[in-house]
């Protein structure tokens, strides 16, 4: 009798206990997880304050920010090929066109048509690919020249990205004298921000004038991208940068983020410059990781002048296709508290976003809308911006 009673009690106890475990866990999840007490679980941010040195000034020349000329044409191609996640090398865009049509190409078939012409006969290579590719005339590119003045007054030059269309980029390089600078070995290195078509596929144009230039790429390049550097006739060093900080010269450092990017690309590299008596300047190709993430990373990792986030140059990847999403408004609404003094945005920031920045009262540097840049709301092709120096 007593044994029976004990058995029943144990079974009842287990029923209650099983229900209680579920209920208790749900109670904790519901009451604690988003309450004010949950904040006690977050450690205070410890700043590393890595010293990357300082430079006197930085000047950026926008060689080209018009990565493509007609947004509707580009998006039509993306739609036709299957959307934002399709491998960029399969689009049949130049220079990898093989004549089979949209979304049916490959790196191997495309490069086979022009490899023998790279890097010295890029005009001929482009003429070949124009006949085989989808919408070749829509290709533009992103690239800029960064001139760093050291505290001693010595000036050093770097190229950020090499654009897309050989024809357009060669025209831009010649317009700004980049061809001569490369020939004279005045430019120390080519820094590739990421593997996207509009930043990287024009790399033979740089190698045409200096095939030995040291090239920095972020970790995450796909095999096609690595092979393209070789197939473009590059003879210099290729340095793959792992995620994190990579100081280049006093006051200038790159930083690599391991981020996934549309069209099957992974990893992006951007630049920090610490300008004496002014603060930190961010120079980005596309900034897929977000400018606020870049700023927060700087705050945690780097020691910079006056603890001031001073300037921005480049694409901020907010509405590259003139699209919009409420999360972009989160950025527009939040950027003000970072107190940037000079914002030279363009390219994938999007015209709409630049307008919203202007509406919010941010210090946007306007452009001249020349050389096929569309509006003056942001820095266009051929425009310059200085940090610690007037241009």
């Amino acid at each position: 009798m007593s044994e029976d009673k004990g058995k029943i009690n144990r079974r009842d106890f287990l029923k209650g206990a099983a229900t209680g475990v579920l209920g208790g866990a749900v109670l904790g999840m519901g009451l604690f997880s988003y309450g004010p007490w949950s904040k006690t679980y977050f450690p205070e941010v410890k700043r590393k304050l890595v010293d990357i040195g300082t430079c006197k000034s930085v000047k950026v020349t926008n060689l080209s920010e018009t990565s493509w000329f007609e947004n509707s044409v580009l998006m039509g191609d993306i739609k036709g090929a299957g959307g934002l996640l399709v491998n960029q090398y399969s689009y049949n865009w130049p220079p990898f066109g093989d004549g089979t049509g949209l979304g049916k190409g490959s790196y191997e078939k495309g490069i086979a048509k022009i490899k023998h012409l790279l890097p010295h006969a890029i005009d001929e290579a482009w003429a070949v690919t124009e006949g085989l590719s989808v919408n070749p005339n829509n290709a533009g590119g992103f690239a800029c020249l960064i001139e760093v003045e050291e505290l001693s007054g010595n000036k050093r030059k770097f190229l950020l990205d090499s654009g897309w269309s050989y024809k357009w980029m060669d025209e831009c390089f010649k317009r700004e004298g980049i061809d001569e600078m490369l020939r004279n070995r005045e430019i120390e290195a080519l820094i590739i921000s990421h593997e996207h078509f509009d930043h990287f596929w024009g790399v033979p144009v740089t190698y045409k004038y200096d095939p030995t230039i040291t090239t920095y790429i972020p970790e995450g390049f796909y095999p096609e991208g690595l092979q393209y550097i070789k197939d473009s006739g590059h003879q210099g060093k290729v340095i793959t940068i792992k995620p994190g900080l990579n100081p280049l010269i006093p006051g200038l450092s790159t930083y690599v983020f391991a981020v996934p990017i549309i069209c099957r690309v992974y990893g992006e590299q951007a630049i920090f410059a610490n300008v004496k008596d002014h603060g930190l300047v961010s120079i980005t190709g596309c900034c897929h990781f977000g400018i606020i993430q870049f700023s927060e990373t700087a705050f945690r990792e780097i020691k910079y002048e006056k603890d001031q986030l001073y300037g921005i140059y480049g694409g901020l990847h907010i509405s590259p296709f003139e699209d919009w999403d409420p999360k972009y408004d989160d950025l527009v609404l939040s950027l003000g508290k970072y107190d940037f003094q000079k914002i030279g945005c363009n390219h994938c920031t999007g015209l709409l976003c630049a307008k919203k920045f202007v509406d919010a009262g941010y210090p946007i540097v306007r452009g001249t809308a020349q050389y096929r840049s569309r509006e003056t709301v942001y820095l266009g092709n051929g425009d310059r911006i200085g940090f610690g120096i007037e241009v």
Partner: protein, 470 residues
């Protein structure tokens, strides 16, 4: 009187052709093969139709799920007669019913959303209307319209089954089909419209420049609480509601709500109890991300952005649904030998463990296997699409094809049905208030709270110990 499929799922006996685990393994292999083939045909960015743009494929996947729920849970297979359901070969049944679900799906998207709502009510449901906006491209017009339909689907996929599972079809439970189905459809659709306007409309309103102050509430009321103006905040808790409805229906066997004897109280408690459980899950999954990836920072992109974190809450929740459905459909809701609460607890623990494993496997393999973006954080990386696609295939297999070929469907006899009802009553009556149950409940609650805090402590360590993305 013709009953169509009313009670069909309860009154069919699925007889295993071989002892377990072979039927479960065969079904898993078969459905994964169908999943992969259909994924390549319809969704894969490297495949044929490439609907994973991502929103177009996402929208059709979500609405297809709702079509299946409507056909089976709300319309009880109407207009198909009971004899047809019982005597037709599963392949024929599967093909016919799937084809009909796709036809209704297409009609709903093109006819109702794009044609009717998009032309005579709200422009953002119709891509052609959106194309009239300055600088709008065809691609984003289609994506925006798909997003609006998708957000509606998120709500409908919670409310449609909730009316059956929680509210037990009241007040139309005794009505014949199609009257019952139409009534439930109308009321759940009406509620979905209300919830849509109060949770998603503001999100759509601020997609345009300038913000549509005069037609949508902007900035939205949740901005400060959620730390974002994005409607992903709502997508997250609504997804958790959908997942909890199905967990309650499958591995929880409607426990603990079915212990409440009073009908109206049970139904109301179940409906709102599901929401309470979902919000607990919702807050916890957000907090779990903060513990592993650090606090969200408003204005950032990708993994640290609050809107991404909220969306990821919904994505994470779906990982729990997959094993829960598998346990019920293919493992006979194992285990069944203990008391109901103990069975429920064991199944829940198994589902959580399997969900974590699935999460790791998904992110390790989806880039190569499914053609999605590498890594966790891209805005177009939606694990919900393949997971719901797989769930849809399981629903077709279980509801339309009686788990063929590893199982054979045999209608239960009246005696068997009566025995089932008695067993169900006994299962519920077995749980009565006793002193021992009270003690167990108290000790269990303390243990549950302890499990929660232990989980919080080890989560960051566990995450650091496992390399998911190289």
């Amino acid at each position: 009187m013709e009953r169509f499929g009313m009670g069909y799922l309860e009154e069919r006996k699925l007889v295993q052709r071989w002892p377990q685990p072979f039927p479960a393994i065969v079904s898993l292999v078969l459905t994964i093969a169908v999943f992969y083939l259909t994924w390549w045909i319809f969704q894969d960015p490297r495949g044929w139709l490439r609907m994973y743009t991502p929103y177009v494929g996402y929208m059709y996947t979500r609405w297809w799920l709702i079509m299946l729920i409507w056909m089976v849970y709300i319309f009880n297979y109407w207009p198909f007669k009971r004899t047809w359901l019982e005597k037709t070969h599963p392949i024929v049944k599967g093909a016919v019913l799937t084809a009909i679900s796709v036809l209704i799906l297409y009609g709903l998207i093109k006819g109702f959303f794009e044609g009717l709502l998009g032309n005579f009510g709200i422009a953002y449901f119709n891509p052609e209307r959106l194309m009239k906006l300055p600088r709008m491209t065809e691609f984003f017009a289609l994506e925006y319209a798909s997003l609006a339909c998708l957000m509606f689907a998120a709500i409908a996929s919670w409310l449609s089954p909730a009316w059956v599972v929680a509210c037990e079809e009241v007040p139309w439970q005794n009505m014949d089909q199609p009257g019952k189905g139409i009534s439930i459809l109308v009321v759940t659709f009406f509620l979905s419209v209300l919830v849509f306007f109060m949770t998603m409309h503001s999100h759509m309103g601020i997609l345009y420049y300038p913000w549509q102050y005069f037609t949508a509430i902007t900035p939205p009321y949740w901005e400060k609480f959620a730390n974002t103006v994005s409607g992903n905040f709502h997508v997250a808790w609504i997804m958790c509601c959908t997942v909890v409805v199905w967990i309650v229906e499958t591995i929880w066997e409607r426990f603990p709500f079915k212990l409440i004897k009073t009908n109206w109280l049970r139904r109301i408690t179940a409906f709102f109890g599901i929401i309470v459980l979902a919000w607990a899950m919702f807050f916890f999954l957000y907090f779990a991300q903060e513990l592993t990836w650090g606090q969200a920072i408003r204005g950032t992109r990708l993994i640290n952005a609050p809107d991404w974190r909220w969306l990821h809450v919904g994505e994470m929740a779906v990982f729990f649904l997959v094993p829960a459905i598998f346990i019920t459909f293919y493992c006979g809701n194992w285990p069944r030998r203990f008391s109901l609460p103990v069975n429920v607890l064991i199944r829940t623990v198994i589902a959580i463990a399997a969900a974590i494993l699935l999460y790791i496997v998904y992110y390790k393999t989806s880039h190569d296997f499914l053609g999605t973006q590498k890594g966790f954080m891209h805005e177009a990386q939606f694990p919900m699409i393949p997971l719901i696609w797989l769930i849809n295939i399981w629903l077709v297999h279980h509801w339309f094809m009686d788990n063929w070929p590893a199982w054979k469907m045999v209608p239960k006899t009246a005696a068997e049905i009566s025995l089932d009802h008695d067993a169900e009553k006994a299962k519920i009556n077995e749980i009565r208030w006793t002193k021992a149950l009270g003690w167990g409940l108290g000790v269990g609650t303390v243990c549950g709270v302890a499990v929660y805090f232990i989980t919080l402590s080890i989560l960051p360590w566990v995450y650091k110990s496992i390399t998911i993305i190289k």
